[in-house]
Amino acid sequence: MPFQSISHSRIRMLIIASVFLMAVFVVRLFYLQVIEHSKYSILADAEQVKRLTIPATRGEIYMEDNGTPVKVVLNETVYTMFVDPKIITDPEAVKDVIREVAGGNTVDGFAKLVDKKDTRYQVVAKNVTRRQAELIKKKELAGIGFQAVVRRVYPEGTLAAQTLGFVNYDQKGQYGIEGRFDKQLRGKDGMLQSVTDVSNVPLTIGNRNVNIPAQNGANIVLTLDRNVQAYTEKALSDGLRKIGATDGSVIVMDPNDGSVLAMANFPTYNPSKFAKVTNANAFNNAVVSDPYEPGSVVKTFTVATGINTNTITPQSTYVNTDYITIDDRTITNATKGQTGTISIQHALTWSLNTGMVTVAQRLGGGTINRQARNTMYSYFHDRFHLGQMTGIETTGEVPGELIPPTAVEGNAVRYSNMSFGQGMNPTMIQVAAGFSSLINGGTYYYPTIIKGNLNDDGDIVPAKQKKPQENVINASTSATMRTMILKARREFYAGNDRKGYDIGGKTGTSQDIVNGEYTFDETTGTYIGFGGDTKPKYVIMVRVSSKGRALNGGDHALPIFTDISNWMIDYLKLQPKG
């Protein structure tokens, strides 16, 4: 009995102890799992649930190459190579492999960085390719790491640099297409929220996993033709070198749909090396962002206005005395000696200012009154779109300036100057697009450089284009203008033209403003013209200038036009007449 009693007592004690112990566990578990639930839940999530960004791939940019899109801007994954000197066991082997495999990409004094035992992170090479990185990894040396970096690649170098723009170190598009379409090119990063293991491998357990795929950026196809662009740049560069000029721009357009085939500027730069550019002007696309007085090329617009309003015909005559007085100002011809009764065609061919002022006067019935100025403004601004944004899809476009007749400055003297291309500041793109409407039958096409987007199947989804403005001049006026401009070229400048084609053009020379005053010591030369077989197939506008140099359209801009024009005939495979 005593034994039984002791035994029961021990069992009871054991039961009590067990129950107590279990109670402790239960209470502790209750505390941890119920009372402190949210706290530990947050801690567990922080440890296990990872939010990973799925980076969107930046869209690529294409140019045309004989109708086939070719990549001119791509992405490339390169690696920044770093070392942890503290855990490097064989510094000499590390230095040797870096020198051997990534010799051209090392940072200055990388060997010393490897020996800095008191540091944990030293960048020793940049822009290491995947192949180089793999070769280094194969050596299995401790203390070497790689960080992937996506960089923009411009395989064509300086080609169309101002049109393309570049991507800066913050991965933000700057200038040109990169700047204008940065948002579309960038795309949208995706997100992956998932429970992960220690190696950050996402696991499907848990009910809060989120997977939002990245939306890659749009692939943009430009209307620029790679070959036309390359030849235009070469012709501009050669032409400037020959005349010793420093600055120049060229635009080549299809006058039948407004698409820009080439836009070249000099000086230029390589978008891959944008940080090395010392003159920020090199980033600007002067064709769209630098308004100037285009000079006598505007005479084609004045004559077209006169013909379309039935004010004049090419055969209309006037008495040329080489000067004409408007209010208190006397306007003279740059080319003198063509005095007497001459035709408007003659005035255009010889680029006589007096002839154009006469046209402006006749628009008002004999004086450059409000009616004449209103008509000129209506044609120049509303029909030919001078002095207003064209909407070309790139950064930096400016409206330029065309003073309306309602303004105080929009007086008779101003409009007499405007009739031969002074006292107004349009951009090259405005003049080229307006000129296209003069010779294409009378339709104004808004200039464009975007052909469309390339979808995943490799098909081009055409971009929505602005509706063209029809009948800015009559078809008959346009035909007359073609003939007049052809004659203007053939009289003096067609010697080097390919025979059997219709190539017409007009020179322009304008004084630059130096220290607030017009000077003859520094002038800008311009030439605009068209070429084709049965109808105009291209419009080319060239502008050249140089500090302290008097450059003119006929001697300095025209040869560049002729060079490009002859090449275009071959490139477009145009058939000669006859």
Binding site: K71, E76, R130, P155, E156, G157, T204, I205
Partner: protein
């Protein structure tokens, strides 16, 4: 009409149950509380094992998927590298400076044949 039918049916049900003896089947095997506990524990264990097997299986698929995704990423990078290389090799400057292009002669003026 519907009320009438309903009351008739209720009366029939009452009549059916009244005249029958209900017989319950009684098993000859008696399971004690310990056996019950063991069985329940076994069932819980089996269910737990099934859950663990499935969860492990799902996780192993995750690793498989991760491997495939890594492979896709590698191939994609490789493809991009090749595209960049192709673009560099076919760039106009590269072509112009190639040995093939250097060996070429300048073309003469084209002759057109009228038909």
């Amino acid at each position: 009409m519907s009320y009438y039918s309903s009351t008739t049916y209720a009366r029939r049900r009452t009549g059916m149950t009244r005249g029958y003896n209900s017989v319950a089947f009684t098993s000859s095997v008696k399971l004690g509380p310990v056996t019950h506990t063991v069985l329940v524990a076994l069932m819980i264990t089996v269910l737990g094992l099934i859950y663990l097997t499935q969860a492990t299986k799902a996780t192993s698929y995750d690793y498989e998927a991760q491997k495939i995704e890594t492979k896709i990423a590698e191939l994609s990078t490789e493809k991009t590298d090749l595209e960049v290389e192709n673009a560099r090799l076919t760039a106009l400057d590269s072509v112009r400076n190639s040995s093939v292009a250097r060996a070429m002669t300048s073309p003469g003026a084209p002759q057109h044949v009228s038909q």
